[in-house]
């Protein structure tokens, strides 16, 4: 693994320090199966296990937003054999914050949609950091309807700070766009598998997150509001975001406990940004298994189960 221009979070340092040591050993000409290198590799595995578990919710938020964390398009490139991207909502334009198209997964044809945050500064600006406008939500719905027409299962990769809160987005009906996704996704009779790969931010995430199976990457987060937004309201102070992150119960284990998601996908090498390929394989394995489970369920039954699934969520007295 190349070290150097990797961006690292403070708590990750021990892992990267050890990797530097291993790299130095390699440059000294030590064989990978030499006793010393084997020992270091073993220690790295242990360290990854230690550093990336038991994190605070705020650290989980930072991992979910890590600049090197694989984006939807990067995962799509790894998971699917082919990908043919489609554009536009047929009303206003194409929203680069949402991507989607036909893909094949080990011989299966599927429709894949997702939020795309972008990989570098220029790309991120172009894609509005994954914050979708109404066109993005309408494109995703259009593609999911297309999938239904051709009886293709749907994979949705969710990764967004939230729907874009801008003047144009409001003028073109941000609320209506999200509301119409939410209502219509209970009509799409194809199996829908949702994976929260990074940030599941509010209504903008949910608009792509209605499905028969909702999976979440280990270090992804899912919340009604960003910790910063929550802190601004609760404490009138955005610097209190770490506290707000704890209050919001937004980690994958929280969401599993609250019965909001079905399964957590463990991340390899500690966290997804450290091993894009390995973690894409993790997702792929689960996708194939879930697709096999959902295939063959008649559309009517699928829709009824989907409605029941979301109708059960909530905790109250009485």
């Amino acid at each position: 693994m190349a070290v150097g221009k990797k961006r690292k979070l403070e708590f990750e340092s021990p892992v990267y320090d050890l990797e530097e040591k291993i790299e130095a050993g390699r440059q000294r000409g030590l064989e990978p199966d030499s006793a010393e290198m084997k020992k270091l590799a073993g220690r790295l595995e242990e360290l990854e296990e230690k550093v990336y578990s038991g994190l605070s919710p705020w650290e989980e938020v930072q991992l979910a937003r890590h600049p090197d964390r694989p984006t939807a398009l990067q995962y799509i490139g790894e998971i699917f054999d082919e990908f043919l991207e489609f554009h536009g909502d047929r009303y206003f334009g194409d929203d680069p914050a949402v991507v989607g198209g036909l893909a094949s997964l080990g011989g299966r044809r599927v429709m894949v949609v997702g939020h795309e945050k972008g990989r570098n500064t220029r790309d991120r600006l172009k894609r509005n950091f994954g914050m979708a406008s109404p066109e993005g939500f309408r494109k995703s719905l259009r593609l999911m309807k297309l999938a239904e027409k051709f009886s293709l299962p749907i994979v949705s990769l969710v990764d967004t700070p939230g729907a874009y809160p801008g003047v144009g987005a409001e003028e073109r009906g941000q609320s209506v766009a999200i509301a119409s996704n939410l209502k219509n996704l209970f009509d799409i009779s194809s199996p829908i598998i949702v994976v929260i790969i990074g940030e599941g931010g509010s209504g903008g995430a949910l608009a792509l997150a209605i499905g028969d199976t909702v999976l979440m990457m280990e270090h992804a987060v899912y919340s009604v509001i960003s910790p910063e937004g929550c802190a601004a309201i609760l404490y009138k102070n955005k610097d209190k975001a770490p506290e707000a992150a704890s209050s919001l119960r937004l980690t994958s284990s929280d969401c599993l406990e609250l019965k909001v998601i079905d399964e957590v996908i463990r991340e390899k090498h500690g966290a997804a940004h450290r091993d894009q390929h390995g973690n894409a394989e993790q997702i792929k394995r689960v996708l194939v298994r879930k697709l096999s489970e959902l295939e063959g369920i008649p559309g009517e039954a699928l829709l009824k189960k989907r409605v029941d699934k979301f109708s059960r969520i909530g905790i109250f007295n009485g």
Partner: protein
């Protein structure tokens, strides 16, 4: 009316001190001072600018439905504190205060009533209950009343007033957008009409779910309607918003 306007500009303190409380009301939209009794007669609509004053669910019942026809559903559903939400004020305390203030267990009133002799299922949100925010209880009550509409084969009428999802129930609140949307979807499959009335304000998770899923959507004049609130948008785009934006 001229002297009233002058009084407003000049001698405010005098007005406040000498007029019995509740006899006059100031229109939050145009600033006009209106006589409470006239306002009441005019169904809480400002005679000067047409602004709809914020009114309680009970007042909506009174205005919209036949007298004595209302039958409440699920009046006792109330919020627990599923996340043990850490906040300056504890969530159960906030709930208790809101319950005391509104004499209601939750931010939405649901049931059935007759409208000109026709029975309809209805839900009316209460903005004075924690800003009409939607958590598990609001979502559940709306979903249940929509299902009742389906069982009884009657139309569904919804009056929304909400700043959006309730932060103190975080992800569970977000999921209520899905739950209520599923209920509206069933209503649609049953081919029953859903009339959605948007009042001031209807924003966030409520605007982005059932409020904008109606077959017919009616908005009260000058109500703030949108997804993101004006403050959030202003912070994002860093500029003043156009006049009348989201109204």
């Amino acid at each position: 009316m001229n002297w009233l306007k002058r009084a407003r500009k000049g001698i405010r303190t005098w007005r406040r001190k000498s007029i019995p409380e509740g006899l006059w009301k100031k229109c939050p939209s145009c600033g006009e001072i209106v006589y409470s009794e006239n306002l009441q007669k005019n169904l809480s609509v400002c005679s000067n600018c047409g602004n709809h004053f914020r009114i309680s669910p009970d007042r909506y019942l009174e205005i919209l439905f036949d007298r004595g026809s209302f039958e409440e559903s699920d009046p006792d559903l109330s919020s627990s504190d599923p996340l043990k939400f850490k906040d300056s004020k504890k969530y159960p305390g906030r709930i208790k205060n809101a319950q005391k203030k509104t004499s209601r267990k939750s931010a939405v009133l649901t049931g059935t009533a007759e409208l000109d002799g026709n029975r309809v299922a209805l839900a009316i949100m209460d903005f004075s209950f924690l800003g009409g925010s939607m958590g598990s209880v609001v979502g559940e009550k709306i979903a249940r009343i929509a299902r009742k509409a389906i069982e009884q084969r009657i139309p569904f009428l919804m009056v929304s007033a909400s700043g959006g999802a309730r932060m103190q129930e975080s992800i569970l609140s977000l999921m209520q957008m899905a739950k209520t949307s599923a209920a509206v979807n069933l209503l649609e499959k049953s081919k029953l009409p859903f009339i959605s009335i948007l009042t001031n304000p209807t924003t966030g998770g409520v605007a982005a779910s059932f409020a904008f899923q109606g077959d017919i959507i009616i908005a009260e004049p000058r109500a703030l309607i949108g997804f993101a609130g004006p403050r959030v948008i202003k912070e994002t785009v860093g500029e003043e918003l156009p006049e009348g934006f989201q109204r």
